[in-house]
Symmetry: C2
Subunit: 298 residues, 2 copies
């Protein structure tokens, strides 16, 4: 395992430990609800979003302990979105990362409620994290407001609506990109911006890092589509070719495999160049994360 | 219509106008999602929670304009909870307030997402409202944190889990009260506390008003159960006796109708006495709202 994978593994473990505490600590929560929340929170995965929060804060010399609650908050939002997306009335998936989906284990009602609870908790964790970190009130409130926009109707939830409505229909490239910008890009961008804001980024640093995150988010999505065509079932934890089977619009389907891969490489180069160009960012980890995204197999 | 009903009608209209703006203004939201969100937000109802935010702020001499976003936020949370509660996998209700439920009109997927979007938006509206009102950062962040607790796994969502698990089973009185304290009480208490915090309540005033709200919330729930037995179908907008049909545990079923009604009256008297006893609260409206809750027919 090379250095960046080691780093990501460490950050994932830190985040998982803290996530476990958040759910375990909460008083008066029905046992079954705690179980359902924990099941999906602890389902593993790369923990890309929280790692980006932590790595960005670190790149600006911020304290990791102050960034950790925000890392957990974004993972809670991501996890809730997966639980709801998997529901029978949405993507109707029985498996995710090789395990039964939440509603297959706990039933639909509990899956919906576990998702609702995680989403709600995320905002509480952000507010608490801001208080504990002593963030300026205005910074913290703007961050929460931005989180609501990027995770909500204008962002991730809106993206899921567009995605559902686009399924089984022909999608133009621009439309596909618009879906992904909101469905997955917004939360990735929010992760990087949270890390930056917690570490007192300058306005210029924030703009540069936002550009990095936007390119990373798009590259990540295209690479996901590429892996769905060429990936290894074992490593992916889901059947290869499942997008094609669902007649989903994907980048390889629209552009071909070679062009999709070139695009990923270009986006990653641009993202890295942005980070390198900005003074005051110790960006080695951010560069390595970008490289990892191209080389990954799952 | 007497004065308090007139007042509640006016506040409801103010809240509805502002709610409409919040959804309409949001850029980049898919049209279908806006429609589904608006359908349930504009489904009428007493708007008890937002009215409590506004009336409490007013009782402490706070500015109504500063309280209005928080009033809208709590109504968004309430509305999302109704949409999700009505889903086929939960209460499976086709009608609410005499209109088709969200999922009957827009389908299950859209209903889930419209609920998710409203919940998310609520936190954005609180953060924005706090910034616009110039609330101290610490007050605002504590308020958001409390909202997440009261609306989340520890509060409303947890209450819905307990409620689902209690259906078709015998429930003791204490357990029933615990369900309602979290399922409906927490959000009513949060409404009053938000109004108080926005208006710079003293610590004593906050404690007193919390006591008022807790009694009001319980009285409201018992009265709901009473109306389900003795109410008028037209006024209720749902079939009378629907709780009994679902074999739901209710206060009249556990205590009898007369004792349930007495309890409501006692709780309302206690709530009113608290408000009267606290210096610096111009509580006429809060008293009238409590009285209205006993006399209402829907």
């Amino acid at each position: 395992m090379d250095e960046i994978q080691q780093y990501m593994r460490e950050k994932a473990e830190q985040v998982e430990e803290k996530l476990g505490e958040y759910v375990k600590e909460a008083p008066g929560v029905p046992k079954s609800l705690k179980e359902a929340m924990t099941y999906s929170l602890m389902a593993g995965g790369k923990r890309l979003r929280p790692t980006l929060v932590l790595a960005t804060a670190e790149a600006l010399g911020g304290e990791e302990a102050k960034a950790l609650p925000f890392a957990c908050a974004v993972e809670m939002i991501h996890t809730y979105s997966l639980i709801h997306d998997d529901l029978p009335s949405m993507d109707n998936d029985d498996y995710r990362r090789g395990r039964l989906t939440n509603h297959k284990v706990y039933g639909e009602a509990m899956a919906i409620l576990a998702g609702d609870a995680l989403l709600t908790k995320a905002f509480g964790v952000m507010a608490e994290g801001a208080l504990d970190a002593g963030l300026p009130g205005e910074t913290a409130l703007n961050l929460i407001r931005e989180g609501a926009v990027r995770a909500g109707a204008e962002g991730m939830v809106g993206g899921q609506v567009k995605d559902i409505q686009g399924e089984n229909g022909k999608l133009e490239l621009e439309h596909l990109q618009d879906i992904h910008r909101s469905k997955t890009g917004d939360l990735i961008t929010f992760s990087v911006r949270m890390g930056a804001l917690v570490a007192n980024a300058t306005e210029n640093q924030l703009i540069t890092l936002t550009g990095y995150a936007e390119r990373l988010g798009l590259a990540f999505q295209i690479q996901d589509d590429v892996l769905d065509v060429v990936g290894d079932r074992e490593k992916l934890g889901k059947p290869v070719g499942s997008d094609e089977e669902k007649n989903k619009a994907t980048y390889p389907a629209l552009l071909g495999l070679a062009a999709s891969r070139d695009w990923v490489r270009n986006l990653v180069e641009e993202a890295k160049e942005l980070v390198r160009s900005e003074p005051g960012i110790r960006g080695a980890r951010l560069l390595a994360i970008a490289d990892y995204l191209v080389s990954r197999e799952s």
